[in-house]
Amino acid sequence: MTLEIISFVVFALLAIASALLVITAKHPVVSAMSMIFHFFMLAGLYLTLSAQFIAVMQVMVYAGAIMVLVVFAIMLLNLGDEGKLRSGFNFRKLVAWFLGGALAVQIAVLLSNGALSNTAISEKASELGTAQVIGGELFTNYIYPIEIVGILLFAAIVGAIYMAKKNLPTEE
């Protein structure tokens, strides 16, 4: 129990710190690197919730494939130091701060009310997070969704290449 709490606190603090670094870092590549770190920390958080498969998926898809894309996009755009892009204080920022603060207060009130106090992880959770259980569910109860995911990825391939290809091969 204590091990779980300690690992949760460590992962959560590191995740928040790296997320802050993502938005505050001046150089986009630093942001990207701290985002990778953030994804690893999230994977750790999933592990503390005994979602092993999701944790592995997080590392494979997010920290692997998606970050490749992000870094490529940064290199492609050749963004320099963000410092020049920064604008000073303006009205929009004020509204954003206000809304964000309001949300934080709401969450704090909900938490202090004890409305969300029932946060115990189910005993069965550790059995549910494995690849076996997920596979068993996916290929019995979620056959149609799986096939739709196939079509979704298919549409994504066709569309992404259509939009990203430099010269569309001229036809005929």
Partner: protein, 488 residues
């Protein structure tokens, strides 16, 4: 007992068909084959949906659903919407072919992308599981992002696509978070189970309320309802004109059917949980507020537009507001009215956009309202057709738009939303100004250099079919209401 595969026929046909079309495209590269196969697939979707519609809902309810494990809803409302989507796809294909030939290389991807978008819409209409609903919304949205930026060499098309993509992904995030919280609250993703859980009061009311709120945000974005409508005019304006009609009719209808699916399973349920934070009436009042703001703001912004495409784009925001009234009513009658208005709106808006695309000619010329002056002499048939669509959009009696609004108003009044109906009437009166204004420009203004835009056979087919649809639904709304052999 009916075989599940027969019931799933529309879904299977369109899914396999859309992949087949892409395979044919890769194998033959023949534009004719790709185009006509796409049309055949959509016809197949419409016919098979009509076929499943003949089964009684009670029989379908008893059918063996082990393969889909209850994630799919068959027949009934979903079949009606299948027919609407098939029609939308067909009208778009007819209109888009020559439009693409004129404006850009005719690239086959357009047809297959339209088909893939229809797959997404059909999945939404058939979803009985929140996962299916989300996947359908995502599939449709991803294809829409690409279709918006289909003219890759036009700067504002790319701008619109990027804007749509970033905001749309954000909205999808809201939707997914909402679904996750609803799952956490009720312990199920199957909508019929969720409604049972709510009825028995066996759920966490805070999570459910937050989840429903987040889902509403996501879906309202897809519908382009009031606080989340800013993307709509830019996107409808930036995308290829023949496609804009598709985005703002079929796309809107799909997002609305998602709302219908959620509303009928969640909002119309009497719960025994006393702690229900977000009561059904509260949720409906919020939706009613969104609906009222949407129609007023859409119509007021459309008033100021000088560009016809932009005017239609803003007016489509307003029409989303009208259709939301049916969901606010949250009764069988209201849902019927939603389906009816979606069908009518499909015909009138796609028809109007087809004419705009026709008159646009090449490279976005002739887009201003003043360019339409004296269309009566140069293109009398087009002017007459455009006048029909405008009158129908304004809701003038002999056309379908009138009955669409009538049914929505009646449904809203019966559920006790008289104030919403009054606002809708005021909004309709505002909208008459710019709809009738365009007709006056076409018929009573002189133009020094009248436009001549040549011939377009396919677009004429779209316009003709739309005219037939608008007039038929206006004279005999029972033709469409006859399809409703089911209740909720």
């Amino acid at each position: 007992m009916i075989n599940e595969f027969i019931l799933a026929l529309p879904l299977l046909l369109i899914a396999i068909g859309s992949i087949l079309v892409l395979m044919l495209d890769a194998a033959t590269r023949n534009k004719q084959i790709v185009y006509y196969t796409s049309i055949l697939v959509l016809l197949g979707l419409g016919i098979s949906a009509g076929y499943t519609l003949q089964f009684d809902v009670a029989i379908i309810a008893q059918a063996d659903k082990t393969i889909s494990a209850n994630t799919i809803f068959y027949g009934g409302m979903s079949a009606v919407f299948d027919i609407i989507f098939a029609m939308g796809g067909l009208l778009t294909l007819f209109a888009s072919r020559e439009y693409l030939q004129r404006n850009y290389k005719e690239i086959n991807e357009c047809y297959s992308l339209v088909l893939l978008a229809v797959v997404g819409m059909v999945v939404i209409a058939h979803s009985n599981s929140l996962i299916m609903l989300f996947l359908g919304v995502e599939l449709m949205s991803i294809v829409f992002y690409i279709l918006t930026g289909f003219f890759r060499n036009r700067e504002h098309a790319l701008e619109a696509a990027l804007k749509y993509f970033i905001l749309g992904s954000f909205a999808s995030g809201f939707l997914l978070y909402g679904i996750a919280l609803i799952y956490g609250s009720t312990g199920s993703l199957i909508l019929s189970d969720i409604s049972q859980q709510i009825a028995s009061g066996n759920y966490n009311s805070i999570y459910l309320s937050i989840g429903l709120g987040l889902m509403t945000v996501g879906l309202c974005f897809k519908v382009a309802a009031f606080p989340f409508h800013q993307w709509a005019p830019d996107v409808y304006y930036g995308s290829p004109t023949a496609i804009s009609g598709f985005l703002c009719t079929s796309g809107k209808a799909a997002a609305l059917v998602a709302l219908v699916v959620v509303a009928k399973n969640v909002l119309s349920v009497e719960t025994s949980n006393v702690n229900y934070l977000l009561e059904s009436t509260t949720a409906r009042n919020i939706l009613a507020g969104i609906s009222a703001c949407t129609m007023i703001i859409g119509n007021l912004s459309a008033l100021a537009q000088k560009n016809v495409k932009r005017m239609l784009a803003y007016s489509s925001v307003a029409h989303a507001g009208y259709i939301l009234m049916g969901i606010v009513a949250c009764s069988t009658e209201g849902f019927y009215a939603v389906a009816f208005y979606c069908a009518v709106y499909l015909f009138m808006q796609v028809g109007a956009f087809a004419i705009v695309g026709f008159i646009e000619f090449r490279d976005e010329g002739n887009m201003l309202i003043s360019d339409y002056a004296d269309l009566r002499t140069t293109h009398p048939a087009l002017a007459a057709a455009m006048a029909c669509f405008m009158l129908s959009l304004a809701g003038i009696p002999p056309f379908g738009g009138f009955f669409g609004k009538y049914f929505l108003f009646v449904a809203a009044i019966k559920s006790g939303y008289l104030w919403l109906t009054l606002i809708a009437v005021v909004a309709s009166i505002i909208s008459m100004y710019f709809y009738i204004g365009l007709i006056l420009t076409m018929y009573f203004k002189n133009n020094e250099n009248p436009i001549n835009v040549g011939k377009m056979q396919g677009t004429k087919l779209t316009v003709a079919l739309s005219i037939i649809g608008v007039i038929l639904l206006g004279i005999m709304p029972n033709v469409f209401y006859g399809l409703f052999n089911f209740t909720f």
